[in-house]
């Protein structure tokens, strides 16, 4: 009997995700921390696990170390066992047709040997950088029922956002009859989620046609729609591409809100706490007398003496007496000093905010970051990994502090004004 659980899963996790700016300075986008204890790729991997698929390849390219360490042997998602497994598939040289991955389809093409050595009826291709919950088992059933060559996961998005996506036009049967990649003038509001199921034989055949076809949305799908059976699988529910700082921040805030429809634990999303060694030993979060905590998500190992409002704290964050953290996302083991104020800020790991320092608060939202006006324009400031903000310093809105700035780097500088970087 053919079992839908036998489908082979390939997760595309190689993209740079450069719009996440310094958050992807030293790690791939799927490895960016999210909602306190997770990383973005945990959502895809957990969905695969909860759908019952057991054979997974993760295609990496850009700064894969952090991601590889996080995936480890795959125990966290139950991918270990006699017939189970998760394999990291980096680009390789020294073989026929080998090179860096030039696009989604090219990356899959360069791993045809992996697909052939794991016989399957269908190949599920996912992106590793989305926040959602989905049952791929049901999608495979749908794919079979439609006798499709390709099935594309699609959802309705606002017309104004369709220019960021592949857009499909469907008939009554949900068969896709026309396709536009990132259209400037939208004809539909049905967007591709970057989730594809291919009949394995069909996938191998179509990838062999031309080496020039590097991308699914640009090349493979339009031709398939013209010649073959391509169906849309409608998805309803919470789904976010957290590829921009704004979207990333909003999705974190959604986790706090009770009515947002996102709940990692209820969705069965599994983190891999032991990936970095330390976090698995964290004690419960401690809340001191006189602290104020409202509408926030707090991880084990945090110590809260001051005020935390509307924020997401990863394990081991210390908020000292009198300090205020609001509307912010703070990564592991960051320290917020006494009477400091941190507003609308994303702090990477092990950041130190000195006493009385002020970040964001009082600044002007309307001055986008000068170097990256398309990354930071709503007021969010970024503090890079292990950077130290000196006591009393003032950092404005839409600012970027690069990673690993230490005390001596600042000289006389006491302020970073709105929209500036340092």
């Amino acid at each position: 009997m053919i079992n839908s659980k036998d489908a082979l899963v390939l997760v595309l996790a190689g993209g740079v995700g450069s719009r996440l700016n310094i958050l992807v300075g030293h790690r791939a986008k799927p490895a960016v921390p999210f909602a306190g204890i997770y990383r973005i790729i945990d959502f895809s991997l957990s969905n695969v696990m909860n759908s019952g698929m057991t054979r997974v390849g993760v295609l990496t390219q850009y700064k894969p170390l952090s991601l590889m360490r996080h995936i480890g042997g795959g125990e966290a998602w139950d991918f270990t066992g006699r017939t189970r497994g998760v394999k990291i598939l980096p680009p390789r040289t020294g073989e026929k047709e080998s090179d860096w991955y030039k696009g989604t389809a090219d990356a899959i093409r360069q791993n045809i040997d992996f697909i052939e050595s794991n016989p399957s009826e269908e190949v599920i291709i996912l992106s590793g950088d989305h926040i959602y919950k989905m049952d791929f088992d049901a999608m495979v059933e749908y794919h079979r029922y439609k006798k499709a060559d390709v099935t594309v996961g699609m959802m309705v998005v606002p017309m104004s956002e369709i220019h960021q996506f592949g857009a499909g036009i469907v008939d009554k049967e949900n068969r896709i009859i026309d396709w536009e990649e990132k259209p400037e003038i939208p004809r539909t509001n049905l967007a591709s989620m970057g989730i594809y199921i291919f009949n394995t034989k069909y996938l191998l055949k179509t990838l062999h046609l031309s080496r020039e076809e590097a991308d699914f949305g640009m090349h493979i799908l339009p031709r398939a729609i013209q010649n073959d059976r391509v169906f849309a699988y409608p998805f309803y529910g919470y789904w976010r591409d957290v590829g921009t700082i704004q979207a990333y921040w909003e999705a974190n805030m959604d986790v706090i809100r009770e009515d947002s429809g996102i709940s990692p634990q209820e969705w069965g999303i599994r983190p891999n706490l032991s990936a970095d060694g330390r976090p698995m030993d964290r004690a419960p979060a401690r809340f001191f007398s006189g602290c104020t905590v409202m509408s926030s998500m707090i991880s084990a190992g945090c110590i809260i003496e001051g005020t935390v409002e509307n924020s997401v704290l990863s394990p081991g964050v210390y908020v000292a007496e009198g300090a205020v953290v609001k509307n912010s996302v703070i990564f592991e083991d960051s320290f917020i000093g006494k009477d400091a104020v941190v507003d609308l800020t994303i702090c990477d790991k092990r950041v130190r905010i000195g006493q009385n320092a002020v970040i964001g608060e009082g600044g002007d939202n309307s001055r986008p970051n000068r170097n990256f006006p398309k990354h930071l324009y709503t007021g969010i400031s970024l503090i890079g990994k292990e950077t130290e903000v000196l006591p009393g310093m003032k950092i404005g809105r839409n600012c970027i502090l690069l990673p690993k700035h230490l005390e001596n780097d600042y000289g006389d500088k006491g302020e970073v004004v709105d929209g500036e970087s340092f």
Partner: protein, 418 residues
């Protein structure tokens, strides 16, 4: 070739009547403690940090919870070529039809296991205590003194001395000296040095004395083995341990020791002590960070991932998965895994076991009264306290009570519902 030379054996078999309903379904060593861990994790973490990697656990009473908790031993890094945790349950054979008749009998029955490993020292520990200690210091002392037995002691309040094994040490230095007198639970204690039930034996001597002990009627290390070794003039040393020592023999003590976790400089500092637990037990590793609602108040408390806090929590410890609904109040309490405190419920000085729901508007426990003891109310696991139920101070509610047992209006102070 490197091989571990010290074998540690943890006594984890017992239950204690006074701890009542908390040990109804689990041994005392598996009682939850510290907002995410179990009591035995303190001994196991001490072993981990002391580099002792060959460990046996003697379990008997309701051992499933403990076996489940230990898992492969990976959580304490005790898995590998020469590292490991073995659980030693009681067994029958041609000669011996008995359960473990006491701590010393438990070790005696497993002497083949012990001898197989050819340890250079045997460290016997209780799995029931809350403390941090580097056993290597004590073992060094033991070896330097060429002792047959070294027992660890700690200073306790003289007024409580009668509850422990009390020793008199002829101090040679600050570390300790010859043990000159030992008495288990003396009516008139001659000192305030209490045994921690941390005993380091020269293996040959342990084998001798355990074989000898089999002729007797009682088989306890504190009550029988140490006194009989004193009598026979073995070389016994007392080793003074300084630091925190918490015990949890009664519900009041359990509660008091738990309260030592709180405050700005807590007497039990889990982070500093490096406490490790098995996050696979109850799958607590899969809990999302705790969510604090817009109207919540958290005051001098600790809470682990998986909690949802919408009400008020003061001076309390919340284990993973506890929900405190809007308008509910939890004060001076310890709530185990997956407790639900419904809207308007009010808990004061309560220890609530796993999976218990406190119905809307219920009032459980209360401030300290004039009576003796702390008057802590304890509620056993898998109960549903009905809406608006009133339960007084010092009450005991047995686990898993059927709905009809709850057809009462209220429970007066110190009453028991079973």
């Amino acid at each position: 070739m490197f091989k571990p030379s010290t074998l540690a054996m943890i006594l984890a078999g017992g239950r204690v009547d006074e701890l009542g309903v908390l040990t109804y379904f689990r041994p005392k060593s598996a009682v939850p403690f510290g907002g995410f861990a179990r009591v035995i994790d303190f001994a196991l973490s001490n072993l981990l940090h002391s580099g002792i990697e060959l460990v046996a656990i003697l379990s008997q009473y309701r051992s499933y919870s403990l076996i489940n908790h230990i898992g492969t031993g990976e959580a304490w890094d005790m898995i590998g070529r020469y590292r490991g945790i073995s659980i030693l349950p009681p067994f029958k054979d041609y000669e011996n039809p008995n359960w473990y008749r006491g701590s010393a009998d438990a070790v005696y029955q497993n002497l083949d296991f012990v001898q197989f490993h050819e340890p250079s020292e045997i460290l016997i520990l209780s799995g029931d205590h809350i403390y941090q200690m580097d056993y290597r210091e004590m073992i060094k002392f033991h070896i330097a003194k060429e002792a047959d037995l070294t027992a660890a002691f700690i200073e306790v309040d003289q007024s409580k001395s009668h509850r422990f094994g009390i020793g008199e040490i002829e101090f040679e230095n600050q570390r300790g000296g010859r043990l000159v007198h030992y008495e288990e639970k003396p009516e008139k204690p001659r000192s305030n040095l209490a045994s921690l039930t941390i005993l380091c034996f020269r293996p040959r001597v342990l084998y001798e004395i355990l074989a000898e002990n089999q002729k007797q009627e009682s088989y306890e290390f504190g009550r029988d083995i140490i006194p009989s070794m004193m009598q026979r003039n073995y070389k016994i040393y007392g080793y003074l341990h300084k630091g925190y020592w918490g015990y949890t023999r009664t519900v009041d003590e359990y509660w008091q020791t738990s309260m030592d976790l709180l405050g700005k400089t807590p007497r039990i500092n889990l982070e500093e002590w490096g406490l490790r637990t098995n996050l696979d037990h109850r799958n607590i590793r899969d809990c999302q960070p705790l969510l604090v609602g817009s109207r919540a108040i958290m005051d001098n408390s600790m809470a682990y991932n998986g909690c949802h806090i919408h009400g008020t929590v003061r001076n309390s410890i919340l284990f993973p998965g506890v929900t405190v609904e809007k308008g509910a109040e939890v004060i001076d309490s310890v709530l185990f895994f997956n407790t639900i405190v419904e809207n308007g419920a009010h808990l004061n000085r309560v220890v609530g076991d796993v999976n218990t729901t406190f119905g809307a508007g219920s009032q459980v426990g209360g401030p300290k009264t004039d009576g003796s003891g702390e008057g802590i109310t304890v509620v056993g696991w898998n109960n549903h306290v009905p809406d608006r139920m009133k339960i007084g101070t010092g009450c005991t509610v047995y686990p898993q009570l059927a709905e009809e047992r709850w057809s009462i209006d209220s429970l007066r102070d110190n009453e028991v519902l079973r």
